[in-house]
């Protein structure tokens, strides 16, 4: 460990230094709405395996900020999931679904 004085001088023994700055991606890839991009107009509540992509391992709906879905389609996803739950092809509560 470098002492405080050494750190202040900017000399750190044993630290790896690079001649050119490392490329670290600071900006995440932009999220997009998969319905808009692939032109899906209707979200089928009967297709449970596909709807599982929109819930977490407890069976709760994932927020828009994680999936990137636009508001218009998020509402439809929510309705589809709720319908799927009603006809018991998706659980209301679950544990370790994934």
């Amino acid at each position: 460990m470098a002492t405080l004085q050494q750190q202040a001088k900017g000399k750190k023994d044993g630290d790896i230094r690079y001649l050119s700055p490392l490329k670290i991606e600071t900006q995440e890839r932009k999220k997009y709405c998969r319905f808009k991009r692939s032109g899906i107009k209707y979200i089928d509540y009967k297709d449970a395996t596909w709807l599982f992509g929109f819930v977490n391992e407890q069976g709760k709906l994932l927020p828009r900020r994680l999936t990137g879905t636009s508001l218009k389609y998020q509402r439809k996803v929510a309705i589809a999931v709720k319908r799927a739950r009603h006809i018991a092809i998706m659980p209301y509560v679950g544990d370790l679904l994934k």
């Binding site: 107009k41 209707y42 089928d44 509540y45 009967k46 449970a48 319908r83 739950r85 009603h86 006809i87 018991a88 092809i89 998706m90 659980p91 209301y92 679950g94």
Partner: protein
């Protein structure tokens, strides 16, 4: 006339004949009131995600039909009265849903042929 779609779950203790009879009953109920059946699907005995009436599986059936909207109320009441039905869900189909239903059907028929 609107298009609707119903998924209903039948009690798993029923025999095959009883299942057929129940399906027939509801089909007749609709056709008697001027409905046009578009598709019928039998998903068979399926395991459910959670227990309904202490049962973990049920016979799934799907109807797609065209009927005047007033009939639906009566139709749903009929589902509620029948003890063999464990769950039902009727949904009105918009134009995108109809499109999708057709696509789904053609895909399913292809699969069954292959």
């Amino acid at each position: 006339m609107n298009q609707y779609e119903t998924v209903f779950i039948l009690n798993p203790v029923l025999s095959d004949d009883q299942v057929k009879e129940t399906v027939k009953k509801f089909e007749n109920f609709l056709t008697d009131r001027g409905a046009k059946m578009i598709a019928k699907e039998d998903w068979g005995l399926k395991k459910m995600a959670y227990a309904i009436e202490n049962k973990k599986s049920g016979f799934y059936q799907l109807f797609q039909f065209e009927v005047p909207g007033e009939v639906i109320n009566e139709y749903e009441v009929e589902f509620g009265r029948d003890e063999r039905i464990m769950r039902y869900l009727t949904v009105k189909l918009d134009k995108y849903a109809i499109e999708w239903a057709e696509k789904r059907r053609s895909r399913m028929s292809k699969k069954s042929k292959a």
